[in-house]
Symmetry: C2
Subunit: 237 residues, 2 copies
DNA sequence: ATTTTTACTTTGAATAGTCAAAATAGCAAG
DNA sequence: CTTGCTATTTTGACTATTCAAAGTAAAAAT
């Protein structure tokens, strides 16, 4: 008799571990490779010693590689798990907005708690009910059930060409107030804007909106708004 | 300057504590008052020593009264918290059935995990989306947001009058196989049946269903099916 | 090169929740 | 009363996660 084959995603991680994985995944995306204990610690809101010991545990569990005084990096297994957590998070976010009508500025927060409690069974239902969406309300792509993630590289309002209409594709900053501002100014994903000018020295980006007139953004804010070249609408090309 | 007034339900309990409260609430309903450490322990699947120490913690937190060698009993505060947990559980169950189309035989299980992760904000939305329901898919009444619960005392298939049509009102046993059986035999809440006879010595209850003919149930199963006298349908009174 | 800084690791301790196993209380029989 | 049984309580230990604070290595600065 052969052993029962257990699904790949059967690895059970505590929600603490899930959060570390998620964070590590982000950081190693952003930072290119090894994540330092200092970064990890401050991102997780713990003291550095805690990050060190968690890094070791993850390594022991085969979810990460840890080199003292150098950093951690997820293994393939760790990355898969991270992607599953991210999938849960983003699907839940979209679900909360679409089905429960919550404001997009709060769903990140809510999903943070729910992502650890949603079973595969429930997740599949949400996925189906939402008609297998590919992005969450902030424009963040949703990993597939198999842990595959396609992140198109995009320009932002801070570095896209001037004078050409752009569609807001993704908002990187999940801060509540920021999102509320973005929404109130009509800059949610899907909105169309043109960057009129940039004064880098002053750190300001001047936008031209479709029917709302001008708006100035700080450079940091502009960099958090990813865009895609707008499809020329009928009668405009 | 006066202190900010914090909402009553602000007490934060770990999910472990929430589970103990829920369990305690049930047991002291069923058993009349004090709950013994043995009962609590076996209901929670822990050793008696663990129950003792948790009982003490609950007492320290003001959620229960604990008398050594006698038992625990929830305080008013503990009962309120328990009712909030039960509200979350039951609302989530109904949501899973109605919105996510999960089978009622599995929602108890799922709600067990979600009930600790659903915020008030999310819960209110579910409540509204479900149009403020008063019972979950098993017929269990849903406590109000203020922690009030109305449990009509009901007869069961094991003790209701013979020969009179009854409507299934509530199924007390949440066991997956049992629920699947109940459903497949057309005995879900809302169904109408008549108890034809009871042979107590043999522990058997014979039912007459609307258009499905006879069915025999064990006494334990019958006792788990609560009923209400059926409203005489038009043309039958 | 030697010092200083910064980042990291280690160590010791705390909390929540748990178990195993030893100690004990209360009661039931004799 | 004394023995025994059962339910309960205690004690000691263990895991996961965390912090504070002391120790250390590598990099930066002089």
């Amino acid at each position: 008799m052969r052993k029962l084959r257990v699904p790949a995603a059967a690895a059970l991680a505590s929600s603490t571990v899930e959060n570390y994985l998620k964070q590590l995944y982000r950081q190693q995306r952003a930072g290119g490779g090894m994540v330092g204990m200092g970064q990890l610690a401050s991102a997780m809101g713990v003291v550095p010693g805690t990050a060190t010991s968690m890094a070791k545990s993850l390594a022991e569990a085969g979810l990460a590689r840890y080199t003292p005084r150098n950093g951690v990096r997820l293994t393939a297994a760790g990355e898969q798990l991270a992607l599953h957590v991210i999938r849960r998070h983003r699907l839940v976010e979209l679900f909360l907005v679409k089905v429960l009508q919550l404001d997009w500025s709060v769903v990140d927060e809510e999903a943070e708690r729910l992502e650890h409690a949603v079973s595969d069974r429930v997740l599949e239902r949400m996925d189906a009910l939402l008609d297998f969406p590919t992005a969450d309300p902030h424009g963040d792509p949703i990993p597939s059930a198999h842990g595959r993630l396609h992140e198109p590289r995009r320009l932002s309002l801070a570095n896209c060409p001037l004078g050409r209409p752009q569609t807001i594709a993704r908002v990187l900053n999940q801060d509540r107030d920021f999102l509320q501002f973005v929404e109130s100014e009509g800059l949610a994903p899907g909105a169309e804007v043109t960057v009129a000018s940039r004064i880098v020295a002053a750190g300001a980006v001047k936008l031209q909106r479709r029917r709302r007139g001008e708006l100035s953004l700080g450079l940091a804010a502009a960099a958090a708004m990813l865009v895609a070249p707008a499809k020329p609408a009928r009668g405009e090309g």
